[in-house]
Symmetry: C3
Subunit: 444 residues, 3 copies
């Protein structure tokens, strides 16, 4: 038996873990506001309702079957054999959270944290589908994500699956490490966002016939920047709770995780401000917000394992990467991602996973994923995880959404889109008493 | 002496309880935004100021006398004798939080939680009085609610009073159970909201002469839906802290309470979306928000005592009930409740109390309200509590507010109302730089 | 050696302290919304982006050198000798958070709390500079505040410095006490806000040639009042965590701190409502919000050391003081402080420090700042602290910002200001789809 049980938590660490998990809904609130604020006013209620329903669908799908397939280290799972070792590939818990007494045990706390985490993952694609993704289709797509795609990858990382076993089975460091979910939440969500953006195509009027993109500014920058404060807090919860569950033992890892999360976001936000100031002559508010959140995303992997200085470097690189990625996708690849979800969550998350491989300084006496001694080649385990995300999860999530689109078209009809999703799908606007400019934006 | 002392909390459970109580202001923030967003823009600052002042008045009234009358199990109370038993009917603590050293004891934590809880109860009627309830009168009404109505009923439920004693004295289950306040906070607030809606009458222009209601959409759906995230978090705090204080012992009950709260809200929000989609062809954003919050309300009773599957059922029923209740009150009963407070908090809360009677699976070795063994007929205790709310609390809160209205008219003057409460009562609008449609809405 | 080590915290108190620190970003979110909401719509994105970047700069400056100079009781510091005693005047930690293993120790938790606290201090001046402070200059000023001014004073109060040593060295009570930062965060920030308001001068159009001030209402009262809920929660975190770190030991002090914080804010908000109602005939929404937040500020000093009744009195006085201070600065002193930062944070904070001297009832067996027995003359220690703020910190922060202004002009150019900072500095507005009244306000 090569699967290691999860580490124990002291009673106090259990309570602190619960207090940290409590913060995660603020990350959801922040992402929802970011997406609504970066979209058009005529789809703002739709964006927010889509976010509430996505969280609801995700929680129910995770309850019905997601948890069963995610599993938990040391609990039932299906395995295959390769290279003479057993590798877990999917959990085998009963459906409906059946087999687990819900108390303060690590397995229970993990179920709670993962139920909230899948809500975060489910929100990410909404930002890429703003202003054109039908509400029913987004709920269906969320069910697929939360009921299958996310649990599968999360099992591999957090459920004692084969990525976590890379340390025990092959001696690659401690196996793939991702305490806060830079891969399992953010990159999975961000790659699904990419799939959705490809499947839906750009908004009407986004690209001229020669491919020149129009700038379509978000309708409420105050909400977008306010959201930075909420995501900050929510991410400390994600990262702190994830670190406790991975490291086990006492509460000692939380302070480092919180400080690193903050420094990473700060450096990323300032890097985005500096880059946009240098390139366009003025700092760009929405790219700064994207940079800040991208710094949080990047911090999710390494927060508990690096020095504060490494967190600053990780954040600064994240801020630069995301700024260029947003522009590259928009102007070069013709991918219309109004909220920057792909760049923030997929690019930021993948960078964070690699940064862990570069900067992690893991004390020799820690036990992570069942490995006590520090094996070499942690970076290789991280690389395998990233390759799995890009080479397996992306095609899978694209295919599933493409299939869904065959049976249940995801894009709003061409006559509905100009009215805005609020009027067309909900029958009333978000701001019925305010006078709105109705003219469309011109290509720049 | 038939009154049982409150259960002890471990040191760790005390700390976690404090961390959960911290979340309750977010529930207040969420309710305030919901009410402001569902009202008119010309009363939006008034709605928010009314919410801040209601919380302030409630905290002070609870400090002055509310806590004295609420009391705490095992501490001084006045009792009457009936059927050969002593029944507590009101607490007898010193005024001004006098007799209680404020530390981490269960009694102290309860005082803190109840001070925040009374703020939640005080916000609920504001939603029913939107756009026409004078600020001073709403403060006076809040003082009555927080200084008398709420503490009295809360004593019966949480202070070792007669509803809690139904188990010890009459063998009805564990006595009336309501850990998170579905009755003591939500239904008390919701029934007061009903009284206020009756006393104030509908907004000018809400009903045509033949009784046909006009649809008056809320002025900011983004705030309303954003609030769903805040109430989610706030309710986990309410439910988790209340469960700890009722169950005592360790931190084990919090994970179940948090997961059940989430699933109940998720099912209720989706049920409201499905119902409005089926009936009107389109999901209704504000009814979905009402459904979500109503699911949270319904979860407050049973969250710590039911399986996740029962929480899903409770939520789904709550979502359906609330959707129909909103329409029934609006179209059939001529009750103008702009924020849906009556349906969400009174209907949702009462349903939650009954659902506890139906679904609760309380471990035999738990001690609740001083009862160790599981008596039969828990549902009867719940029914008696609900009957007390409808048959005693509603008439009392109606009478008190009716009396208040005699001496201090609650409704804004007829010439003031069309200007909006912001200009008329505060002298300036919420959004002075935005251009607003001023025309009134037509009957549908 | 006259410097006392910091008190120990139980394991549980460490976890609760972490849970309280988690709340501080909500205080930051609340201040940011207050300032954006009380400013003009044409500078709203700028206000929010300035807030995010201020938090980012503050965190990085604290990381680079701020922590080194703040230090922690019992750790390395530079001292001078006077009256035969050694007095610490600046910390001597390594830069880049170097010397401190970041775990759950009090020193680590303090570093985390102070990193967030400096973000709060950094936000305060932004409110005084609304609508005219250049983004780059505000970031530079923040770096000075977070890298020098704040750490220096914080060392004196929280790092075992000379103000904290007044008890040990001179027998003045327990030395200067300020658990939640009424002085070290709020007054330092508020006095910097005063410096900024002086250096920038009033907004264009604020004063007629005869000095008559124009009323320039905030553009979004809903955000301002919503922020009251966020600051409430954030301040309980600041005050609770600060109290734990100062008092040490168990979790017992948190309930009192939370209840006092709430009552202080409630009394202050209601006092502001009553005063404005009496003087102007109508309650003023923005002054009520200022009063509420000012009550929170005032509570930061004494929250853990006074009875709830004293907290109510402290709050009521704060509400009155702040209301008059806002008007006096605006109408008599020609100081244009759009968000009321000076009155709320400097006046409120200084009043709170004095109120501690008046009302504190500190148990004889507590150890605070290394002093066990209750020396007399606590009020004198508080007075010395206040005198240091007004007589030393204010001139220092003014000089530093004046110097900065020589090399890097802080005020936006005269041709840029009428366009609004959003268009002029960021290139796009906060609300591009909403129709805005563009006319300027007239003198009243």
């Amino acid at each position: 038996m090569t699967q290691a049980p999860a580490p124990e938590l002291s009673d106090i660490a259990q309570a602190l873990c619960a207090a940290l998990i409590l913060m995660v809904p603020l990350a959801a609130a922040g992402l929802a506001l970011t997406q609504a604020g970066l979209g058009r006013s005529r789809s703002a209620a739709h964006a927010m309702l889509g976010a509430v329903l996505a969280v609801a669908v995700a929680a129910l799908a995770y309850f019905v079957c997601g948890h069963s397939w995610q599993g938990f280290p040391g609990r039932p799972a299906h395995a295959f054999t390769a290279a003479g070792k057993a590798w877990n590939w999917i959990g085998a818990e009963p459906f409906f959270l059946g087999g687990l007494p819900l108390d303060a045990s690590p397995a229970s706390l993990a179920a709670w944290l993962r139920m909230f985490g899948v809500g975060i993952a489910a929100l990410i694609p909404l930002g890429a589908g703003s202003d054109r993704w039908r509400l029913g289709a987004s709920c269906a797509s969320t069910a697929v994500l939360a009921g299958w795609t996310y649990p599968l990858f999360a099992h591999w990382v957090w459920g004692g699956g084969w990525l976590a076993q890379l340390g025990v089975n092959l001696g690659l460091g401690y196996g793939f490490l991702d305490p806060g979910g830079a891969g399992a939440i953010q990159a999975v969500g961000g790659l699904t966002a990419l799939s959705i953006a490809w499947i839906l195509g750009p908004r009407h009027g986004k690209y001229a016939s020669d491919g020149t993109p129009a700038a379509i500014p978000g309708h409420n920058a105050v909400l977008v920047l306010f959201a930075c404060f909420l995501t900050w807090l929510g991410w400390i919860g994600l990262n702190g709770a994830g670190s406790l569950l991975l490291v086990g033992g006492s509460t000692a890892s939380v302070t480092l995780a919180a400080i690193n999360t903050t420094l990473c976001a700060a450096a990323a936000g300032l890097a985005a401000a500096a880059i946009t100031r240098l390139r366009f002559g003025r700092p760009d508010a929405s790219l700064c917000a994207n940079g800040w959140t991208g710094g949080l995303v990047a911090s999710s992997a390494a927060c508990a394992f690096v020095s504060p200085a490494a967190a600053v470097i990780t954040g600064a690189v994240a801020g630069v990467l995301i700024t260029f990625s947003v522009e590259w996708l928009d102007a070069r690849r013709g991918v219309d991602d109004p909220a920057g979800s792909i760049s923030v969550h997929a690019v930021g998350g993948i960078w964070g996973l690699l940064a862990l491989g570069m900067f992690a300084q893991i004390p020799r006496d820690w036990v992570l994923n069942g490995v006590r001694a520090g094996n070499p080649n942690q970076w290789l385990a991280q690389l395998i995880g990233v390759a799995t995300l890009v080479g397996f999860v992306l095609p899978m999530t694209y295919s599933l959404n493409w299939l869904l689109n065959r049976f249940y078209p995801q894009r709003v009809s061409a006559e509905g889109e100009p009215h805005g999703l609020d009027l067309y799908e909900l029958g009333s606007g978000a701001y019925p008493e305010f006078v709105i400019h109705r003219e469309d934006f011109r290509p720049r």
